[in-house]
Symmetry: C2
Subunit: 327 residues, 2 copies
């Protein structure tokens, strides 16, 4: 049967100014603009194959045929792509990550970025990077930030024009030699995934205050990043992470993504910095701790995580490139 096929690769990303909560759940229009680094080497590779005679979409992730909610979310995204391309063919989607899924490393970000790039190409859509970013956003908010490379800003955009909510690169990967030393303290699936969590953000009495002050933090973070001012940079990065977790812990029901070891690492990182090691932390919707430092300190940070805190699994990522077709 006639088929149209494309394969794409996208990287995970780590947010320095966090995305938490939507002003429009369906369109995933975020409550605030965010800022991230695309992570080299933490990849999702996805192949989309549309076939004329196929009866239903087939979704395979990490070699496992998906059913239920996981499949539905991919099918919904394929429907969006098909509607834009004016096609009706069903697809076979095969996707794999090279990093643990569902433990605070944004696997849905790289997954929906790769799905968007591969799906659009296979469907014959010729989209710009902003268009691909806005498309990826519909599948998973933070996927908007896994389309561009390097250091990335995702603007909240306008309510009247959802297509203005997309991400772009504010500096290329080589702008700054930051390293994300990720202490993987749990590979378990989260009890409440990010999509469910975003929907709870508004139940915290603190979310409005976090959102109201996010633009100021983003500006401070952008300036510190563009001028490579590590002390100023890491101060606002940690503060923003703390604010997101404060909102999470005070939603109804409360979300405690941290584990005891998470807090132990937070406290150690702050002590190490006070003792002169240039490192800080940021934490996504999971227990893993992203220790952010410059290249010169990465080996020492990794050593201390292993030796002082007995962290067994550590991933090391540097600024990565944009999502791309594999040809």
């Amino acid at each position: 049967m006639p088929t149209r096929l494309a394969t794409a690769v996208a990287n995970a990303n780590i947010a320095f100014i966090k995305y938490w909560g939507n002003r429009d759940e369906k369109l995933r229009l975020p409550a605030n603009s965010s800022l991230s680094m695309t992570l080299s080497g933490l990849e999702t590779e996805t192949t989309v194959e549309f076939s004329e005679g196929r009866a239903a979409d087939e979704v395979i992730i990490g070699g496992q045929a998906q059913t239920g909610q996981a499949r539905e979310r991919v099918v919904a995204h394929l429907d969006t792509i098909r509607a834009r391309a004016g096609i009706v063919w069903r697809a076979r989607v095969e996707s794999s990550n090279n990093f643990p899924v569902g433990a605070g490393i944004a696997s849905s970000a790289s997954a929906f970025a790769a799905l968007s790039v591969a799906g659009a190409a296979a469907a014959g859509l010729d989209l710009t990077e902003p268009e691909l970013s806005a498309l990826a956003r519909l599948g998973s908010g933070s996927a908007a930030r896994s389309i561009p490379g390097g250091f990335v800003e995702w603007q909240a955009g306008s309510d009247d024009a959802p297509e203005t909510s997309f991400a772009w690169s504010i500096a290329p990967p080589e702008h700054w030699d930051l390293v994300d030393v990720i202490a993987v303290v749990s590979q378990k699936h989260k009890a409440v995934g990010s999509t469910g969590g975003h929907a709870l953000a508004g139940t915290s009495p603190l979310q409005a205050a976090r959102v109201a002050t996010a633009a100021e933090r983003l500006q401070r973070c952008r300036e510190a990043l563009l001028t490579r001012d590590f002390p100023r940079f890491i101060e606002v990065v940690e503060a923003d992470s703390n604010l997101m977790h404060a909102v999470m812990m005070t939603s109804t029901p409360p979300l405690f993504y941290w584990e005891p070891i998470t807090l132990a690492i937070i406290k150690s990182v702050r002590r190490w910095r006070s003792e002169g090691l240039e490192v800080g932390y940021t934490i996504d919707a999971g227990p893993n701790v992203h220790c952010v430092c410059r290249s010169v300190s990465a080996a020492e940070v990794e050593r201390r995580l292993r030796e002082n805190l007995d962290v067994k699994t550590i991933l090391v990522a540097r600024p990565g490139g944009p999502a791309r077709l594999r040809g």
Copy 2:
């Protein structure tokens, strides 16, 4: 030499709706009203002896003569009492606690409550309970709540009339058989004491939102307490504790009073409750966890803390009586 002497005993208290931040630091007028339980058996006993010929105030706590800030704070409180009584005699103050100091059990609350009751009596002042509570507040905010017995509300009061910021009993100790099973996970002194912490509250972008919603929580807590509705009660108690720690973690600099074991207990308590054991938690400005339950569950809560979480030191307190002169 002529002397005038009095001895008083006051209990610690645990806040169910928290006090964090002042609208007037000097007068310790709190940012919001709070609600607490006076804790039987966690006592400070204080003797104040004014003597005509004494050259300087002498302050002995736990057998140790105090110098520096700890002494100055007591002297300042004696000055307030002397000014009201119109006396100039210096005093010898001897005070002792029967519980660990500076680890999140409000030792300054019972200490300044006992000091106020003993000091006022020794100085010949005849004060009402509200007057004693407002006096104690000037020494340590939460000491206002260690003057009355049972279940206690401290109203924020009026800016124009600081004497209206005092606490009173809303229900006697026998109203409800609540038990505070305190997991003492650290007896170390806090890096940042409560007085320093209160001064930082306003640096958190979340404090205003916490304060703005505190009156609603206090009302819900009071109603649940007066109707002995444990599920409704503990939900708002935990939420209010989470909100205070959210503010602490997002102040500049951030205050992390929790230790890893604190978070482990939080998560266990929530799981135990979901499995049917009626217990919840609240945490003051320290790492210890106050597990709150009814009398029927106290032994089981204590057993699980010891066996499942390896907590070595546990204090058990029930609703206690008011501060009183010892006679």
